[in-house]
Amino acid sequence: MSNDTSNGVGPIERSPTYLSSTLALLAGVSTAVLSAYAQVALGATLAGLLVLGLGLGVGRQSPVTVGGGLLVAGVVAAGLSGAPVLATVLGMTTALLAFDLGTTALGLGEQLGRETPTSEVELLHAVASAAVGLGVVVPALAIREVATGGQPVSAVFGLLVVVLLSVVVLRRADPLSGRRA
């Protein structure tokens, strides 16, 4: 028979990509370390890390989302239990990074497969996301340091309203109509 269909490569492995998964887990571990100021907080972040790892292991989005949520909750708990501001802020950055990179790993795995070379894209996403986090953390901490006479309530109030306004605006913003580079 001339119609030989065997010896094909076979269906592609659509599991999350290794690089982004590893980076996501590293971010999760950092979150756990940064939240180690209270048992509740550490427990929540470790649970989040576990669920995130599980989600990346089986290649499902919902555990990754839940794991990211647990990491965030752990950071908030650490902040409430007297963790330094720097640790809380960095912890939040790494928690969101873990969720972001985990989701990136899932998306790339689903669309291109684990075996496809995608590292340059993954690294770019990771660097960009980390830069965004640092780009917010550094000025925020700087403002906090610059404030000379403690933190007047009126200023804090004003800034909070600014943040709230920006959330309202951002939730209405459509990423599709964003500015074109």
């Binding site: 409430l80 972001d100 309530v153 920006s166 580079a181």
Partner: protein
């Protein structure tokens, strides 16, 4: 939009004032009150709850990419029992619906099968079915019986607990019992995996090309912001508040982050666009960025559904700067026929992952693999039908030849070599030996290429049409070299007829036709062959032409075609690649149905060569020649 601008402007103004207040307390006209802060916290909390509740879908949404590496799997016939019951030979008026009608259909089919295989009169068969004594399987017997038969306790419990599953089970067992009467056993080799039987490959580009859509990659970040604000304010924790600010940064990144205007061009080159079947062909794909920086391009090349990737990957994830291009290559195994590469599918994501644009770049490329003809070594069992040309097909009339036919009285003019000298010596009588006259015949190889024939016993194996074409490619040169005039035609919606002829150029024409004609290489889809097909085909067919039909013999239409051709003086030999499997009850019923059709044809005197998968063609031919 205007409201949004006002909000943004107000935000910036407030931000500036607050900064000034931080550096130089007392500048701001804003009142500072702990109570106000708590109120803002409460508002944030409410907003967070509302935002969380308003999220209809949770996860990110992505464009799915097809499994281009795999060839389209063949469909195993018999996925739908109702469809198999429809037009079951001998039970034509079967109404295939749900519930009792399906039971009625099965009754008719059971009667039909009992009539054929047990030699019962239809009335007797009907009675047996009604009484439930036609099979040993009590579930099956009860399912088709007229009155309720006593059932065991276990069966009653099962019916009580799960009435629906019990009915489905009884249906399956009945189907199996009917198939068993027709000689189809459950434990026969069953390559058909029920999980994969009904799936067909979808290698088409998903979604609309060029549309940018959001991926919801960052879904949930604004909820994190609001929760942090609310908790931080209500519990007066600056760290948590600042953490909320971090999340705002990500929300902004997701919503208003840089968007790329994507402008790509693609090119594909093949190492060999006319390979031999079975050869590995290297495919090189180049995608060039004609627009701005693209941070994330997910490229999937449009490998034809019919080809398998044997080495490398037709996928790549890259970032491309302006004017940059990426080149990658992979290998496909060529199969006979013309295969078209589709455009390359590209998913362009923004840096923040929040939008995704699907594009199709590059042109279509074609690869054509024409096999060299390898004539089958065994003689092809043709029907007796001579032309005036000398050839190798034995006829029923005596004359010159090799094989002994009859003895007749000597007539003056008979060749001396044909006089029976032994007899002359013994009795003194002068007799002439007659040999079987060998003549060439005119044959048209007819391939059933309808979409209903595009089924196979295993999703990974070639379907019946591919096997038929493969067999035609071997029978065609074999018959030509025996001196016959051979033509080729397709039974299907696409017109294809090569009139019987001989000669080297004709051989070449047939070879190209089989490999590249769309009638053989493209799935015509569900639209059926026209009802006038038989009439038009007979008009093209020269007189004194016999046919070799390659068909899986799955429906009554092809049987009717055979009978009509026979009635018009065109003897037909059927070579039938068996596409049926025994993985599910439906598949077993399909095998039983096909057996009935084969038996029917054989009873009308049409030789049917049942070609099981895995058996070499030569062996099937040899067996047929031996039994004649």
């Amino acid at each position: 939009m205007n409201r949004r601008r006002v909000l943004v402007a107000a935000g910036f103004g407030l931000f500036a004032v607050s900064l000034a207040e931080l550096v130089q307390p007392g500048v701001s006209p804003i009142p500072g009150d702990e109570l106000l802060l708590t109120a803002v916290g409460a508002v944030a909390l409410l907003y967070a709850v509302a935002a969380a509740l308003a999220r209809r879908r949770t996860g990110p949404e992505r464009v799915e990419t097809p499994d281009v590496e795999l060839p389209e799997p063949a469909t195993v016939p018999g996925g739908d029992i109702a469809a198999v019951l429809q037009r079951f030979p001998g039970a034509e008026r079967v109404y295939a619906g749900a519930g009792t009608s399906r039971r009625n259909g099965l009754r008719r089919v059971a009667v039909a099968v009992l009539t054929r295989y047990r030699g019962l009169e239809p009335a007797a068969a009907r009675q047996r079915v009604a009484e439930g004594v036609w099979t040993d399987d009590s579930d099956a017997a009860r399912f088709l019986a007229d009155r309720r038969l006593s059932s065991s306790l276990g069966q009653r419990v099962r019916r009580f607990v799960a009435p629906d599953s019990g009915r489905e089970r009884a249906l399956d067992r009945t189907v199996d019992a009917i198939a068993a009467v027709a000689g189809v056993q459950t434990d026969e080799e069953s390559p058909g995996d029920p999980e994969t039987t009904n799936e067909t490959g979808t290698a088409h580009l998903a979604g609309k090309t060029g549309v940018r859509r959001r991926t919801r990659h960052w879904a949930g970040v604004s909820v994190v912001v609001l929760v942090c604000l609310a908790v931080g304010l209500l519990l007066e924790e600056p760290g948590v508040l600042l953490a909320g600010v971090v999340a705002v940064g990500y929300a902004a990144y997701a919503r208003v982050g840089p968007q790329t205007s994507v402008d790509l061009s693609g090119a594909r080159s093949l190492a060999d666009s006319e390979p031999d079947p079975g050869d590995d062909v290297a495919v090189t794909v180049t995608v060039t960025n004609e627009g701005g920086f693209c941070p994330d391009l997910r490229i999937v090349d449009g490998v034809p559904e019919s080809l398998a990737v044997t080495d490398g990957s037709p996928r790549r994830g890259v970032r491309l700067r302006e004017g940059e291009s990426v080149t990658f290559s992979y290998t496909v195994r060529a199969r006979q026929g013309t295969h078209e590469f589709g455009p390359t599918q590209v998913l362009a994501r923004s840096l923040s992952n929040s939008t995704e644009q699907e594009l199709a770049v590059g042109s279509e490329t074609t690869v054509t693999a024409v096999p060299s003809l390898r004539p089958v070594q065994e003689p092809v069992p043709l029907r007796r039908q001579p032309t005036q040309y000398a050839g190798r097909a034995p006829t029923d009339s005596g004359g010159e030849g090799i094989e002994f036919h009859t003895v007749r009285e000597y007539k003056p003019g008979d060749s001396m070599t044909r006089i029976d000298w032994n007899r002359r010596a013994r009795t003194g009588e002068l007799t002439t030996l007659e040999f079987r006259r060998e003549r060439a015949t005119r044959v048209v190889l007819l391939v059933d290429a309808r979409s209903t024939a595009r089924v196979g016993h295993d999703p990974g194996a070639p379907d019946a049409v591919e096997r038929s074409i493969g067999a035609t490619q071997r029978v065609f040169p074999a018959l030509l070299s025996e001196g016959h005039q051979v033509g080729i035609a397709a039974f299907g919606p696409a017109e294809c007829f090569l009139a019987p002829d001989t000669g080297t150029s004709h051989r070449q024409r047939g070879r190209d036709l089989l490999a590249t004609h769309p009638a053989f290489n493209e799935n015509p889809g569900p639209d059926e062959t026209r009802h006038t097909w038989g009439l038009r085909f007979r008009k093209q067919l020269p007189d004194n032409t016999q046919l070799v039909l390659f068909s899986p013999l799955l429906d009554l239409r092809v049987v009717r075609v055979v009978r009509t051709l026979e009635a018009h003086g065109h003897p037909v030999t059927v070579l039938s690649p068996d596409p049926t499997a025994t993985g599910t009850p439906g598949q077993r019923l399909m095998r039983a149905r096909r057996r009935l059709l084969v038996t029917d044809l054989r009873q009308t005197g049409v030789p049917v060569l049942d070609w099981a998968p895995g058996t070499p063609l030569a062996e099937t031919l040899k067996r047929e020649v031996a039994t004649r």
